[in-house]
Amino acid sequence: MSQQMTGAKMVVQALKDQGVEVVFGYPGGAVLPIYDELFQQNEIRHILVRHEQGATHAAEGYARSTGKPGVVLVTSGPGATNAVTGITDALMDSIPLVVISGQVPTFMVGSDAFQEADTVGITRPCTKHNWLVKDTDRLAETLHQAFHVATTGRPGPVLVDIPKDVQFASGNYIPPQAARTEHYAPRVKGDIDAITALVELIETAERPVLYTGGGVINSGPGASQLLRELADATGIPVTSTLMGLGAYPASGKNWIGMLGMHGTYEANLVMHGCDLLINIGARFDDRITGRIADFSPGSRRAHIDIDPSSINKVIRTDIPIIGDVGHVLEDLLKIWKARGRKTDREGLAKWWAQIDEWRAVNCLAFRNSSELIKPQHALQRLEALTRDHPDRYVTTEVGQHQMWAAQFMGFDAPNRWMTSGGLGTMGYGLPASIGVQVAHPEALVINVAGEASWLMNMQEMGTAVQYRLPVKQFIINNERLGMVRQWQELLHGERYSHSWSESLPDFVKLAEAFGCKGIKCDHPDQLDDAIREMLDYPGPVIFDCLVEKHENCFPMIPSGNAHNQMILGEAETQGVIGDSGAVLV
C-alpha cells in the first residue's frame, strides 16, 4: 500500500510507522519542511535542545534507558557537524541512533552552498552506515532501512542526509514492511559446537569468571535474566565493564565489582588469576586489559559477541562464539543442564575463598573527613539515600566522579546506568539525563557530574526547565579537571598543567538564572539534608557539592600495567599483599 506524499511528510510518516515517540532536534534552513510537518501533527513529540551535541546525547540516554532507538533531527552544515561527537559516542558504545540531517538541495550539492557540509563524508567513519537520499521515491525505504540497521546486530548510530528539494518533492511512500532489509541480517544464533566446547570448559574449570559488557544490556532484558541464571546456577563470579553495570545485580551474591583501570582489586585479580575467562558481550577494551602481554596469563578464553570483528581484535580467543548474547546464553544453559549441571565444586569453593581474601582488602576504602566532603563519601550518601528508590536512573559525565559513581553506586537492573564509556565524552551526562527523563517522566534521574564536564553542555539546563524535566544535576565540584590532575600527579611529576577549573560560575545563581533550583553543600554534616532537599524538590536541581580538591581515584591500574600491578591508595593492604603476590602499591 503505497501513497504519494512530500519527502518531509514521509519523514514524519516513517517515524510514526517505526513507533517513534520522541525526536531530539534543532531546526535550521535545510530541515524547515520537516519542521513544518512536525508542527502539523501531535503524535511525535519534539524536544528542542540547545545544541545539537545535546540532541545526540539526549537520544543516547533515551535509547539506553528504553532499549529503543533514539532519533535526532538536525540541519545541514553546523547542525550536522555539532552532532558528530554524539554520533561517535554512540558508535563506540553501540547505542542505536537514527540521525536525520537536512542538506542543501541536490542541485547545489558540491557548490560550497551556504551551510553545506559533506555530512555523509564527515560521518562515514563514525556511523554504522549512512545515506544521502537524492530521490524522494527512495526516501521512505531508506528511512526504514536506517532503523533496521541501527537496531539489528551490534546496534549503532546511522545517519540519513536529506537534501531540501527531496523534502519538498512528492514521491511514493512505502511502509516498513515493504522496505527491503533482508540483506543486513547478522547471525544471532551461536555455533553449537563452540557453545558445547565452552560448556565442557565450564564443567571442569577451577577458577572461572564471567566478564560481562554492554552487549548483555544491548541484547535485551532477557539476556540479563539468563546471565543471572547462569551465574547463580554455576556459582561463577561475575565482573563487568563500565558499560555492562546492572546486567548482573550489584546485590547479587556472585558480584565482585567492576573490573579495569579503576575496577575493584578482587575483580582484577580474578581476571589475572582465572583459568577460564568467559567474555560475554564485552570487547577487551584497553581500559580493561591493561598490558596485553600480561593479560590473564593462565586462562582459556571464550568470547561471545555479535560482532565478528570483536573476536581476536585485541586478545586471542580459544573459543569464539559469534551470536547474540541472549540466544547464546539460552543454548549454553540448555546444553549445560542437559549434560548434568556439572561444575568443579571443590575448585570453585577454593576460588571463592581466595576471592574473599582479596575482598577483605576493602579496596574502595578511603579516609573520610569530618571537615571536608570526600567525593567518595558524597556518592556513598547519594547511593544510600536513593538506592531504594523504585525507579532510579543515573547518568554521568566523564572523569573521577564517573569512576567513583561506578564504584559506589550499585545497579540491580539493566538500562539504569548511562555513561560515556568508549569515547569518554565530557558533556554527555546532562543531555543524557534529559533523554532519560523524557523517556521516564516519573522516574528519579540523577546526573553525577564533574564541574568541568558539566559546563561543556550546561546550556541544556534550558531544555530541562522548558520541558519540566526534574533532572538532578549532582555536581562533584573539586574545582579541578580531577582525572587529568590525578594523572599529572602520578605520571607527570605533579606538574598541574591547566587542570584546574578557574572562574567557575556560582552554580546556585546559575540555577536561578535558568529558572530551576540551586543547592550548595560544602560540609559533610549538611550533606544528607541537602541531598534530601534535592530529591524532594519536584523540578530540576543543580546541586553544587564542594568536595576535597585533591582526592585521587583508586584502585588504579596505570596505563600499560598488568592487572596485578594496581595502585591501591588508602585501602588497608598490610599482610594481604604478601599473600597474593606482586601488587605494587
Partner: protein, 186 residues
C-alpha cells in the same frame, strides 16, 4: 574439548586458529569483496583501511552485476595473520558488503593485471624492447618512430619482471590496473 569445526577460510569463526596465532610473519592476501554498487561504498572500504592502518597493495573495482547493482572489489593486502583476519571481519560487517572471499586461503586462484608501458628508444634498444615484448606476449598498441606503448596482461610479478627489463631500454611511463582475481575451478 571438542574440536571446533572451523572451515578453511570461513569468516564465521576466525581462521586465526588455523595458523600460528603469534606469527609475526607478514602475509599477502588477495580478497574479493562483493558489495552493493552504491555511492560511497569505495570510500567506505578505503576509509576502513586508512582509518585502521591496514595496507592496500592494490585495489580494483568495477560493477560486475548490472542487474543486481553489485560490484566486485579485489584487494591485495598485507599483514600478520591476526591483521588479515581483522580486515576480513571489518569488511564483512559493513552494511553494503555481501561477501568477503580470501582467495589466498580458499584455494588456488588466478590473479591478473593489465599494464600499459611506454618505452622510448632508437636502434638496438628499440629492437631489444620489441623482442622482449614478444617473449612476454605484450602487444604493441601504439607506436611512433621513437616509442612503443606495450599492453600486457599477467600476474603482477610478470609485469614487474617485464617493467624491470624495460627500464634500461627506455621505459618512460607505466600504468597498471591493479589485480583482478578469481578462484580456480568451480
Amino acid at each position: 574439548m571438542s574440536a571446533l569445526k572451523i572451515q578453511q577460510g570461513s569468516s564465521r569463526h576466525s581462521a586465526y586458529d588455523l595458523r600460528d596465532p603469534n606469527a609475526e610473519v607478514i602475509e599477502t592476501h588477495t580478497l574479493a569483496v562483493i558489495v552493493d554498487n552504491e555511492p560511497g561504498v569505495l570510500a567506505r572500504v578505503i576509509g576502513l583501511f586508512s582509518g585502521r592502518g591496514y595496507n592496500i597493495e592494490s585495489l580494483t573495482v568495477a560493477e560486475t552485476d548490472h542487474e543486481g547493482h553489485r560490484s566486485r572489489i579485489t584487494i591485495v593486502t598485507t599483514g600478520t595473520p591476526q591483521v588479515i583476519d581483522q580486515i576480513k571481519a571489518q569488511l564483512g560487517r559493513m552494511v553494503p558488503v555481501h561477501e568477503v572471499h580470501d582467495l589466498t586461503v580458499e584455494g588456488a586462484h588466478v590473479a591478473r593485471e593489465l599494464a600499459l608501458l611506454k618505452v622510448a628508444g632508437k636502434g638496438d634498444a628499440r629492437i631489444e624492447a620489441l623482442r622482449l615484448a614478444e617473449i612476454f606476449r605484450a602487444n604493441v598498441v601504439d607506436s611512433t618512430l621513437e616509442s612503443f606503448v606495450f599492453e600486457m596482461t599477467g600476474a603482477p610479478e610478470k609485469i614487474d619482471a617485464f617493467a624491470e627489463l624495460m627500464r634500461p631500454l627506455g621505459l618512460v611511463e607505466i600504468a597498471r590496473t591493479g589485480v583482478a582475481a578469481l578462484a580456480r575451478g568451480v
